[in-house]
Symmetry: C3
Subunit: 459 residues, 3 copies
């Protein structure tokens, strides 16, 4: 009578996995409009369509590049930095079957939505002056090489992965912990954005003659806050969905519901998001005398980034502390980047995605439900340093090469005209207001698209 | 050969439950941007960021408060108003395990997204003049006390719950029916909003010297309608997800698919939403001569509210009738609040969430699939009266206390300047138009945020 | 010991089916705000609320009509065009049980969200001049008759269905392949929109005295692009969800996970969307010298439409080629409609939903994973021709009859004033800008809604 208990339920477990993972991947996809709005709201109206277009292109081109190259390259990186043998064929095996294997393409897509998140963060840092073509090439590099290296070193089983036999993990005796990608995805994108913003230089007028920062208000705080809520929605997919296994085991007798893991990730994500927003708001209220909506939004996001790597590992009060730190540091790091580093990181992607991600991930061992481990802390610092360094180096190399072939930023005249007009020949809002302080695009409306441009007339 | 049929499938049932409940909770979270847009679209541009900020804060602070206090208090209220013994420890047991129990935190989150929905409704009634700090304290009271009492009296097993041994339910011999919270959540929020709007007083200019209402058009009908569709999307989670059990039973032999329950809730929600919009549009077309988009949207929402408590209980033609009534009453109740009560309920939250919720819930026994019950009707009226009374009393107490420590509304000068500028030091749309009829915020743009405010410069 | 392996797991399979199908239906519902934004962004600000209102109404009225009539009629059409006997009672059986059967209403809703997608496409073609009442009646016809016929001929088992004994399918020996409705849903809507746009005539000023097209720029490229990303999100539900069966089989021994089918649909949808956007952008960059954001968006959508019918059938490189063609043809077909046909299809719904859908569906046999079949190609051409012809004929009959009772378009004065003002008595953005080139609506703001209109004052 033991036999039935050993009945194979793999098909049931796989089905539950697939439904869960597919749905949360769709939620993670929804971070794309989230980022597009968050960034568009923080730029002048004359650059809003350009920012949106950059986001649309990094997704569209990114999925192709990550399919044909990036995903496989991550596997090769993992092989090369671990005890695994290098086997390019197996790394790219997902391309081999034109009709698709059972779980292969679902898992590829699961990886792709994370890759596209890393790529899309950069556009927020370089908004308002980066050449569109140079941005597109950079986005290709992000999805073809920069993110795949980060992925290969970690989740794919490379250098920092204990289970994968990664060289550094073996040496330290601890694998790098970053559950849903606070550093593998977010801080990589955040530091790449910071590096790119530094290389491209600030927007005209961002700093006065004495080098003091001058605010360039975004054209819609409302759209930026709306994008923030979209991101929070998608983030539930990002974090909770990373606990992809809901039903573990493969027979009726050894199956188990992974409710504790799911619940912990869910609660920690929620608490860190809440306290991140509250903390950042409190700091700006003390500092400025009034609660700042944009820092409330950015604090919420920084709380999410900070807990993204930690959410599966830490206690709920650990999550509160990590989210609190994530929120508090946001305005300080933002000001430090602007005022000390003199870098025009338009949407504050380093403060929100970079520093918050590193801090939260390094703190994991301090609040781990299974207690503190010095080896783990060493690994967290080492892993964060490696990913951060790669983000800087990879971006410098990429933009360095791109800069050999094209200008990294638009001309001063184009910047003043606005990138919507100079890069795309249109105005995002042809009927609304004027962009004070900038020359009004001459002849704008009659060149506009209308359910698509009037191509021939303009050609 | 009977043994295998008794095989425990709890892990499978739990997994299906968790996937379903988590996803629908994420949908319910999406009601937050829905409310934010619905409300922002209905206020002047100079108050849009303030409304959005209020929504962001009631979520962010609310989840913390509901975790640390509200959720547990609901349990205590349930114990105190039923035959259960009072045991504060068990009511707050979800806080005890720092690493999380199997289903505890998932179910806490399931409760939290409903709590945040109740809290966020209030901001729509008091938009355009309520002090930000006073609003934040009120939101804390909503998630710490006002909603938890409503929750404790009903779903948590208190006064109105037959299964929980609630005193009133035992006395009447019928438990209160409100499937997904038409009154427990929505009407509570709607009547709390109405009460708060009455206590704070109308926006300047809302009534002329003779006490006649003057319209203050919202700045974007489009955003309000977009928010409505977001809410409808989230509402599928709210209503259909409340049928949380998809697979019932715990062994292979007694398991059952709850398709009929799911299908009924789904269909009734859809029909009531559709006919609510059509009915409200028809009323305004007859009344004004033209179909009114904002009442179409509000009618759709009122149809949803009206069916929220009834959707699991009534026939499909019952759902059509309830949705029809919900839609028809919306413009009439809205005018009654404005013209007779002289209350400036900006977004009509009483007509949409309050009266629609009470009517729909009271009508449940009339259209119940299992036939009419007078005891049930008595209970529906009694329960609605109790929740409504509590909503009024709880809000009066809250705002009464808050008013001892701070002004409930901004000064007249601040109101004229707009709350975005006076409360947050910014303009939501620094490049678009001017807010006719109001003094243009002086010096606006140079104080604006830009990927976060220029804190030091302004300090 | 064989008995336990035959244990009935229908309840588990049904539960997984229901969770999956419900969630993806909610995603498909989210295409409603997607279409509303895509269309609103492409019209002048003075018509934006009207477009949104049309979308709200076609959903709200549409679900009622499709429930009471359309869904059943599709069954009758299927019976009448196949070897099935005509049995109106069985076709409308879903209405019979007031309390709902187990899977009946879930599956009705699954059908309804596809029907509403077809209906809502039309509004984009006729924006800016179609009479609101005439549009509403047309939307009723779409959901009551036009789409139900398309549905009946195909998925419901009629003329083109091999499994249903459809007369044509039997004759050709192949059933029509259109997995998720590239033609059954999208091309039907696209060609109905084109026909309606032709019958109603172009917007005033769309063509100059010599018949040359003049651009009428939409009021917000940003909203149009945002709507595009919403549609892509919903499309994952549309395409991947059409693979509704995740766990097949009904006993433990014959159950199977449908991962290959899911993965193929998922990957093909993603690749076609990406390359569609890139290809359309590339064409406009070559043509105009600058990448056009609106064509990037429309190319993404055309890539999605093109793969919608094919995604379950073709190889991944087939998906790339189909998406590529979908994207490339978009600007060319759009210009052909405007410049050669002289039809003012405002949002380019024929290029995006029509031609892309037909092309992608006809190409299925060319890239089929199981090899080329001439019979299948013949069936694809025949089926596309029948659906396309029906879309034209059904629309002509509908608008012909509607035109007997009311004007199909607003007066020239109303068009100049804008449909928001003339049809609904409001301005979508009362505080923003002016609609250059059009008379400003006089007395606008004081007539505006305000959390609902001031009905009595205006009556």
């Amino acid at each position: 009578m033991v036999v039935p208990l050993q009945t194979d339920i793999t098909a049931i477990a796989d089905s539950i996995y697939a439904v869960w993972v597919l749905v949360i991947c769709f939620l993670i996809f929804f971070m794309q409009p989230g980022f597009a709005l968050l960034e568009a709201g923080q730029v002048r109206a004359r650059n809003a369509a350009n920012v949106f277009m950059k986001n649309l292109m990094d997704w569209s081109l990114g999925v192709l590049v990550f399919f044909l190259l990036g995903s496989g390259l991550a596997g090769v990186v993992a092989q090369a930095t671990s005890s695994s043998a290098i086997d390019i064929g197996s790394a790219f095996a997902y391309l081999a079957d034109p009709a698709g294997g059972s779980m292969v393409w679902i898992n590829w897509f699961f990886g792709a939505v994370f890759a596209m998140t890393a790529a899309t963060i950069v556009s927020g840092a370089v908004a308002g002056r980066m050449n569109f073509k140079a941005y597109v090439v950079t986005a290709v590099a992000m999805t073809a090489i920069i993110y795949p290296v980060s992925l290969g070193l970690t989740w794919k089983g490379g250098l920092l992965s204990l289970g994968g036999g990664g060289y550094l993990a073996d040496a330290i005796g601890a694998g790098y912990q970053d559950f849903a990608g606070a550093t593998v995805v977010h801080a990589l994108g955040g530091i790449a954005g910071l590096t790119a913003a530094a290389m491209i230089g600030p927007r005209k007028g961002r700093f006065d003659e004495d080098g003091n920062a001058r605010a360039i208000p975004g054209h819609s705080v409302l759209l930026a806050m709306l994008g923030t809520l979209f991101l929070a929605f998608g983030w539930y997919g990002f974090n909770v969905g990373t606990q992809a296994t809901v039903l573990s085991g493969s027979t009726l007798s050894n199956m188990a519901f992974e409710g504790q893991a799911l619940g912990r990730v869910l609660l920690n994500t929620t608490l860190a998001m809440g306290i991140g927003a509250v903390a950042s708001t409190a700091v700006t209220t003390i500092w400025e005398g009034k609660p700042d909506p944009l820092f409330a939004a950015n604090g919420l996001l920084a709380g999410l980034v900070a807990i993204t790597g930690a959410c599966a590992h830490v206690t709920w009060y650990g999550a509160l502390i990590i989210g609190l730190i994530g929120g508090i540091q946001t305005p300080f790091v933002y000001r430090w980047v602007v005022d000390s580093l003199k870098i025009d990181d338009v949407c504050g992607v380093f403060a929100v995605h970079g520093s918050a991600g590193f801090i939260g991930t390094i703190l994991i061992p301090v609040f781990d439900t299974s207690g503190f481990s010095m080896d783990q802390l060493i690994m967290q610092i080492a892993g964060s340093a490696i990913i951060g360094t790669w983000g800087v180096v990879g971006t410098i190399i990429t933009l360095g090469i791109v800069g050999l072939f094209m200008d990294l930023r638009v001309s001063e005249a184009e910047e003043m005209e606005g990138l919507d007009q100079s890069e795309h020949g249109l105005s995002a809002y042809p009927e609304f207001g004027t962009d004070e302080g900038a020359p009004v695009a001459d002849g704008g409306p009659e060149k506009m698209t209308d359910g698509g441009s009037d191509l021939e007339e303009e050609a």
